[in-house]
């Protein structure tokens, strides 16, 4: 019962934060510098790790597909499998998971420490809403950077698959036929579909991590607790939302 209560409270507080920061959307042009900084934080710092991870996801997908499809003598379709699973599911999902670990945790830590050391209180007395200068630029930045990250994740992942297809002897198909299958079965719509998912996940992760950071109470110890909570809640939300968003987008 108590847990249900805190879930309802949490959702309420997140929704409130969303509306409050949205109400300052008009101030975004004047917050250009903060927006760029957040784009850098969100995009540039996660990019290397997204690229590395996507490459290996692509290779594993190709390996598994090669193994599974050999039985049907359908190895030429490996490209379609890697292409579709990367674009529709694994790209958005793994990028969001990395975002939660890399960016969400940093946001929660930063805002939680601002709260604990009374910086948020100082903002309040200055009548400068945290939702405006701390949350809004981050939300805008994640919406802009997520598609960029997804495009890179997809391309690198597809490429990873082709490397396995070409050089691993149990698979052994040419890059030409790999990419031909990939192009034929992976539609533009699938890529867009994946991006929409990633936008939802990324937005929710950043929003929830901001909310958890801003609602930290107590001393410095709570900063660590806030980070853990932010990451755990983000991961759960990504997995739960994945089902619903996939269903809706179908």
């Amino acid at each position: 019962m108590k847990q249900l209560n805190s879930i309802v409270e949490g959702v309420g507080s997140v929704v409130q934060l969303l509306f409050r920061s949205a109400s300052y959307a008009g101030s975004l042009p004047r917050q250009w510098a903060r927006f760029i900084e957040q784009c850098y934080q969100i995009g540039y710092t996660t990019l290397p790790i997204v690229a590395i991870l996507s490459f290996f996801i692509g290779t594993v997908l190709a390996l598994e597909a090669g193994y599974a499809m050999e039985g049907f003598g359908a190895k030429e379709f490996i490209g379609s499998l890697v292409g579709l699973s990367m674009a529709r599911e694994l790209g958005p999902m793994m990028t969001s998971v990395l975002l939660a670990g890399r960016v969400g945790s940093a946001i929660a830590a930063e805002l939680a420490s601002m709260k604990v050391y009374q910086e948020i209180d100082a903002l309040t007395t200055m009548n400068i809403p945290a939702a405006k200068i701390l949350v809004l630029p981050r939300l805008a930045a994640v919406l802009v950077m997520m598609p960029v990250l997804i495009v890179i994740a997809n391309i690198v992942g597809w490429f990873g698959g082709s490397v396995v297809a070409r050089y691993v002897s149990t698979v052994g198909i040419s890059p030409e036929s790999y990419f031909a299958a990939l192009r034929h079965y992976t539609k533009f719509k699938d890529v867009i579909n994946g991006m929409e998912k990633a936008e939802v996940f990324g937005f929710v992760v950043v929003l929830v991590c901001c909310d958890i950071g801003l609602n930290t109470k107590g001393g410095p110890r709570e900063i660590g607790a806030a980070v853990t909570r932010a990451v755990v809640v983000s991961l759960i939300l990504i997995l739960v939302l994945d089902y619903f968003v996939t269903k809706i987008l179908m």
Binding site: M114, Q118, E119, D121, A122, T125, M126, N127, I128
Partner: protein, 277 residues
């Protein structure tokens, strides 16, 4: 924009920033505050009249900082009310109308911003003036507190006393009508403490800024305050002019205001009976 609207009332110019302010009153009415059942403030009532310097003194842990948080609306009292100019300080509308600044006990500077940006944040966000005039304001305020050399340092690179001074400078840049200080001189040398007292007095005398000062600094209380309240154990036990207060015979106050250093019979000796064996 605000300044133009207010200029119809009685006002004076703020020396540090050139802005105009009109004085506001504060009313604390039967305020109680408890944290998970523990009463920290017990039925506190007083009024601060416009343009007054009101000093709050009291032993460590008596609830002074908690009271200041209630006055600026960062927390709400468990019961009772606080009003600034008749309005609830926790509302955004009140903050829009009345500029209230609080100098936090430990500064509460923005750690990710340089000292300069800490001060410039308020005028920039509230769009009071262009970058040039903001820069003048900021440097002027830093100069008044002799921390202009630290303008491009970050809070983590400052000493405790410098942080305090920067945080007072940040409050000045806000051109407040009501200024609350939580132990403004606690980490400063005697000369700097005197300067802070002068700043508070000047803001009152020439610019009718209402001030509430929490302090352990007797000199400050004696020389510049209009009235002094003493809080002990969450209760406002006395309230009066500094002259009345420092002449009091009330044993609790005499002990608090003129503590004796007794070398022959130190306090910790009295604890020896409870010492673990």
């Amino acid at each position: 924009m605000d300044t133009q609207m207010e200029s119809s009332c009685s006002k004076t110019r703020n020396p540090f920033t050139g802005a105009e302010a009109n004085a506001v009153s504060v009313k604390v009415d039967h305020v109680c505050k408890s944290f998970s059942g523990v009463e920290v403030l017990k039925d506190i009532s007083f009024e601060v009249i416009p343009g007054e310097i009101f000093v709050l003194m009291g032993p460590s842990g008596s609830g002074k900082s908690v009271l200041l948080r209630d006055i600026v609306g960062l927390d709400v009292p468990t019961s009772g009310t606080v009003t600034i100019d008749g309005q609830d300080p926790s509302l955004e509308a009140t903050r829009d109308r009345v500029r209230v600044a609080l100098v936090f006990q430990d500064g509460a500077l923005f750690n990710s911003l340089s000292v300069y940006d800490n001060l410039a944040l308020y005028p920039r966000e509230h769009r009071s003036g262009d970058e040039d005039s903001i820069s003048q304001k900021v440097m002027h305020a830093l100069k008044i507190l002799s921390v202009e050399d630290a303008a491009y340092k970050f809070p983590s690179e400052l000493s405790g006393g410098m942080k305090k001074r920067v945080s007072i400078a940040r409050a000045l840049v806000m051109e407040p009508q009501l200024l609350l200080y939580d132990e403004p001189t606690s980490e400063l040398d005697p000369v700097m403490s005197a300067t802070i007292s002068e700043i508070i007095a000047t803001l009152k005398n020439e610019y009718s800024v209402t001030s509430i000062v929490v302090t352990h600094d007797r000199a400050l209380a004696q020389t510049i305050s209009n009235r002094v309240g003493i809080i002990m154990g969450g209760e406002l036990i006395t309230l009066g002019t500094p002259a009345e207060l420092f002449a009091t015979k009330d044993p609790r106050l005499v002990d608090f205001l003129n503590p004796k250093i007794d070398i022959k019979n130190p306090r910790f000796k009295k604890l020896e009976s409870t010492k673990p064996s």
